[in-house]
Symmetry: D2
Subunit: 325 residues, 4 copies
């Protein structure tokens, strides 16, 4: 089917390419003309503005917005809404906060425009492997867009089938789901990323334990100089902790076992934070997800006020003078 | 090659079977004769005592001990040592604390007997999938036992090869490693299990967040009745959180989406605890691994003294009377 | 000075009483006439509606609102605003979220009405001990209300003076501060309560460790049957952990050393949750404050989905069947 | 009464002084002669070796060992034991691991020498304020030493009495307790320090939240430039979080509100670590105590392997390049 795509960066560009490879017609727009050009060479129809993009689409129009969450997406959705008609569909494929989706869908419903939120996992690997998608939408709208999702998704692959699943047409087994009404897609994606933080931190803590086991502070016969690339590699086969993140760890450690390419400052993004806000709102204990986020906060600071206050108290009650860092 | 196996339970029995399928000769012993019988039917030579087991083995003898950690393993290793000779090899394939390995190896070294620790992951799936093994041993002893490990391990499988690994004979790619000297095998396995706790808890917290999103306490348009079996299934394909534990989650939720078969009391084992002890000893921050362990401690208690004290303090300063649980 | 007080419950009633004892004139209103009557007997002028309360006050009017945060406070502030004039002052002494304060003050500023937020600690002990207050307000408004705060505050007491503080008129030393502009009072009070959760949880964990040290699971000579009331009492004198919360703990344990009066279900309130939201918003690592909140969430649940999922995974990979709780 | 004291550093020296002020006779020894000299000027009898110290004591001899835990204490206890007789008493007033106490007491019991462990809190303030003591000892030995503890303890002070405590001779109310058999004193002191870590971290996190509330990243009207010295001071009066640690915080912030004197690297000691080991051994969930310890571990590191691995994984799945720290 035909659709417009706005935002042709790393994610949007590859989504457009995978859709075109699957036979769909893409009208493409990006504020940065040089980025747009690359996609046009790959077969997309050019649109140098939102208005010309909307004009080129047949009704009911479908526009996939793939921009940074927050203002860029908000402004684009609003600008599109002014140019689109009842029955048209706006898809937000970015990392929007799910309550913003709900608010937008309500506002657009007054004009008859449909809003769809798609949580997308797969990163830079999506073009080749396919994208895992969680969709929040009205039922009929999800059904209407099914050909797009089917093209973008990884498909069955060579995974062993989960025992007990036997529906003939099971989109979950092909890599996408209709999670629920608007907002549900990004909510599930948000939790996905919260889990991702927890998984990553679990591996990170474990590998640091093993890395530090060679410390000269330990008794000599309890000191191990472990080959962590080998450890990651062996765990890929038959162990309980095998995962895609472990595959990536094995890859990273093969080239750079001491990880000297990295400073240790780790960014975090909206979803990791919103997950904790959701836990607080819902009264759910999430110590692992929260501590994984906190570890990232700490990773970016050299000296915290909190730690300096600890030292000040220690000096106060015990006359302890801390050694320099 | 020929070896003796002591302890023919779920793990030991299947290890014996996989070795026999691979052409090795197994002399088998278990205190429980009925358990031993099953294995003898599968082709193992019977040994009704440690003494007869040792007697049946050619030198240098190899005995694989697969018993619960602690006293059962300790006593058996000691009893074997009395009956074995310099050059013989005792393998502890159980979940022994690595400092016990180091102590035992030192004691046995005085008699010339070699000690090997094998951390084994794979659980009930190992017979078919193969076992992932981390071995602590002297270099020559590891080399001598290589045929056993090679048979037990999963082999290359159909995994994509880690970019940059190109050694022709890479045991890590077949599912086993020589982690280091005695103790290193169980140390790596211990950390493996610590990571496992963290990974499991990350998924558990995330799925509880999604499960509780249908709560009537939430605003109606922010309430989602998510199909968690579908969520787990879709994440298996192309998402960053795909893993074997997620495969198992998808399996469990397909049959029992509300998980009513489980009480919520979760056991923990030595490795999870020792990992935190190691973190404390090594001065490594492991909030995720520790909180995952603590979640299990809490899961088994209805009412803690800690929580009752919180209520007592709240009553003290604010006159707050807690609602009943 | 004269002021109106709305909301005469445990907190509001005692604040009114302490103000009257200090010579201030109170016009009192509560929706519940029987609660109001008690205060009128203590000397307050009655007001059976917001309108009559406002009518009885001299300009510039001062009204202290002491109601549950959220709708009750919001509606009352709005109703007062309709009846009050430029130059009048509304004080919110409840537990309002500080961003609501900022929003309200902005709206009221259009009409010339001043808004003040007062975070108040002291609970049921405030009538006798005085209230510790953190005030968010314009500078002149804070100065105007100083006589009220001075009366409500505990005063210098017999505390040792902090070395280096030597201002002649130091409200902090008497128990109240001008924390900053509107919102700052409730923000500081919010963090105060977040810290309170952390302190309480620290004691709770420690006392549970000591309580469980008598467990028959421990080796006999490492088993201690500690008198925890004595421990709390002795720590009150000269130890680093002495505090008012410890005083309350000593009190609670003296009457009920096993804490059998409490179920173990612990409530939490807005401030504890908002503190974590603030930490997430500000990118500050607060593992202690967050885990203290999570412990309360858990305390109110018998069986969580998260824990049941752990069991399901354990069954999946290891065939482990959990013992019943 | 008469006693020997070995180790005249900050703690031991002041303990000796407070005992002498209370009328006890002290025979003093320190390996460092210059340290010993200061105490001899204050009235202690000199002993230039363990042997001469033991020789000067009347039987049953009492020797208080106040040395760093571990080897220094162990060696001194052993050396004393060789020179002392049945009925004599060795007191370990340091920060010994309680299982070491139990082991030593058992060994000494064979010779009839009694062993006592005293957990002592009070730090540099103890000389003036008195020491809070938790004692592990046989009942008669504790009774015999009561005059020493009574002198060292703070006494009743001007604290309000805990309601319900009315024993005429209550050592807990004077600042020392017989916690239980040998080991119990140091066990209770260990938990005391674990709690101390948790309390300190709770304050530290809260003050960092307030400190960072002036960040230019926040919306202008939600930005507060709080006077944290004032906040700490006001909380000392009537608030739920008042404590001695808060007094020290108020003190520290008065002189150095930005805490620029401190690097942020915070040491930890045995008790904080052993508390977590005890929690793991006893199956008690202690997220606050554990995370407080982990925060200190982290405070001393600039870049962790764990964090670098997080970056490596993020690069792997998303092509994310972390900004430099």
């Amino acid at each position: 089917m035909q659709l417009g795509i706005i935002g042709l960066g790393r994610m949007g560009g590859n989504i457009a390419r995978r859709l075109m490879r699957g036979g769909h017609d893409v009208v493409a727009h990006d504020r940065d003309q040089s980025i747009a050009s690359a996609l046009i060479e790959d077969g997309a129809a050019p649109a140098d503005s939102l208005a010309t993009l909307v004009d080129q689409l047949e009704t009911p129009r479908v526009v996939w917005v793939m921009l940074p969450a927050g203002d860029p997406t908000e402004e684009t959705v609003n600008a599109l809404a002014e140019r689109m008609d009842a029955g048209d569909i706006i898809i937000d494929g970015g990392n929007t906060f799910y309550k913003d989706d709900i608010r937008r869908a309500k506002a657009l419903a007054l004009t008859g425009i449909h809003y769809v939120d798609v949580g997308t996992s797969g990163g830079v690997w999506g073009l080749e492997r396919g994208y895992c998608m969680m969709v929040g939408a009205e039922q009929e709208i999800f059904a209407h867009l099914d050909p797009l999702f089917d093209t973008l998704a990884p498909g069955h692959g060579n995974l062993e089938r989960t025992h007990g699943r036997n529906a003939p047409h099971d989109s979950a087994e092909r890599g996408y789901i209709h999670a629920g009404p608007v907002g549900a897609g990004h909510y599930v994606k948000m939790v996905h990323n919260g889990i991702e933080y927890g998984l990553m931190q679990a591996y990170a803590e474990g590998f640091e334990l093993m890395q530090s086991k060679s410390s000269p502070d330990l008794p000599e016969d309890e000191r191990f100089d472990l080959n962590l690339a080998d450890v990651a590699e062996v765990w890929r086969r038959g162990s309980v902790v095998s995962s895609w993140l472990l595959d990536l760890t094995a890859q990273a450690l093969t080239g750079d076992p001491k990880l000297d390419h990295y400073s240790g400052a780790v960014a975090d993004s909206g979803e990791g934070r919103w997950t904790i806000d959701a836990a607080v709102e819902q009264g759910v204990s999430t110590p692992v997800l929260a501590n994984a986020l906190f570890a990232r906060f700490n990773s970016r600071k050299d000296s915290t006020y909190a730690n300096r206050l600890l030292s000040a108290m220690r000096f106060g009650f015990g006359g302890h003078v801390e050694p320099p860092k």
